[in-house]
């Protein structure tokens, strides 16, 4: 299977979890996401010839909500979206793959996993509570 968004993540060695792809700024050492960002989100460095850095797709859940209507084409409802701090000063919205919000609370550790899409040949990134992965 291939990733839906190859510039954002890749399958980790365990074959289930995902590594997220960052760019590390040669000027301030800060991480920007994704790796192909055209400038450092912290200091504005142009990030020329910076190689992507793969880091385990871990993060801290900051907030989450259930989406009750399809706010984007093809969005299944209900679904859960959440803001996750995936690195220092890097917060991204992710799709959370749990039955309902009762499994979630702010501050919990999350991990990115590969979830096959219905087409069968593509996987996408979903976040689950890290405790549920064990």
């Amino acid at each position: 299977m291939r990733p839906r968004h190859p510039s954002l993540y890749r399958l980790a060695a365990d074959g289930r979890s995902l590594d997220l792809l960052f760019a590390q700024c040669p000027n301030c050492q800060g991480l920007s996401f994704p790796a192909n960002a055209p400038g450092c989100m912290h200091c504005g460095d142009p990030l020329v010839q910076v190689q992507p850095i793969a880091r385990p797709g871990r993060g801290t859940l900051l907030e989450y909500v259930t989406l009750h209507v399809a706010l984007a084409p093809g969005l299944p409802t209900p679904s859960i979206a959440g803001d996750i701090r995936i690195a220092e000063q890097v917060v991204e919205e992710g799709v959370i793959a749990v039955e309902d919000e009762s499994a979630l609370h702010p501050g919990m550790a999350m991990m990115a996993i590969a979830v096959p899409l219905p087409s069968g040949d593509v996987f996408d990134c979903r976040f689950i509570p890290e405790e549920a992965s064990q």
Binding site: V65, L67, V69
Partner: protein
Amino acid sequence: MNNWIDGNEGVYVAGIGLHPYQFPSETPYTHLGLTAVRGALADAGLTWPQVQSAYVGTTSIGMAAGRVMFRHLGSTGLAVAQVENASASGSFAFRQACMEISHGIKDVVLAVGVDKHGDGRRAANKDGIERLSDTATIPAVKFALMARNYLRERGAGMESMARVAVKNHGNAARNPYAQFRKPRTLEQVLASPKVAGDLTVQQCCPRGEGAAAVILVSGHALKRLGLDPRRCVRVRASAATSERDEKVYGQGPIELVRESSQLALEQAGIGADRLDLLELHDAFSVEELLYSEAVGVCAQGEGASYLERGDSQIGGRCAINASGGLIGMGHPLGPTGIGQIAEITRQIRGEAEGRQHPGARWGMAHMIGLGSVAIAHVLSAANA
């Protein structure tokens, strides 16, 4: 000069006009816009050839909408420019008009906002960057997260947010230009279908279309043209900012509103406690609670109780969204910011029949665009 907006003997709103905000229809945008412009000209007692320059705020119509529309008023050779800045497009068109007058470039300038509901194309979807979530650039999700965070951090109930919608639908019911004209009860707002998180549909602004126009004149032109100064409202401040790195999760939009509104108040030389009117971006109910604190009409943490006490009602300490706001009057994007200016002008003139805030002399129009750009204008009675 201490305050650039006082140049050219000051900037005044001399005329206002609107096409009612409405649900998407087959009405051509030219009809919407021309209705508003003709209304503003008639209100000012001016004619089209007297307008020297025009700014058009729009997001979804396409290139060069102004000339296509204005040729039906007569080809007078005036300068025309189009301004796009998401929800704040009209507000920034208005700011451009203010700058042109205050710097003495022109004396009579039109700012018009006109829009049709578009296809939602955004620059953020064309930046070559993939995102982990398909809803990452959709405002409803961002503000639903803001709402959930508000409820969690404040220990507030959902009624606190819903009361914003009750007030603003109530105000809109008294505004003939509003998209929604029905008062809603707290029970109705809470029972309406959920959209995202805790936000029900009646706590979200509708999709729509419409137009709003204002004619701005210099103080010099006000005298030369013999306009009635009692119907001219003075622009006291115009301030614009964009977002900074968020230091605390969830505080980015709030700090954006705080900085831009404080800059405007400072420029106007007043404190927030002097504001009789505040039109602000209540695209989603929680915003009004947080932004009323950020502007400073109430203390930090007091937004919900300020509303519950009736302080933000028409007739209260500071009428917030007397027009009905984005939730009630509507949010057709391009017109919205200019519609705010029209509402404040109408209120300060004492002409807001059916929803007049008593003794209105100072007002602020505040708008944000896609949660990332902000703009604030302060207006007052000419003799304030």
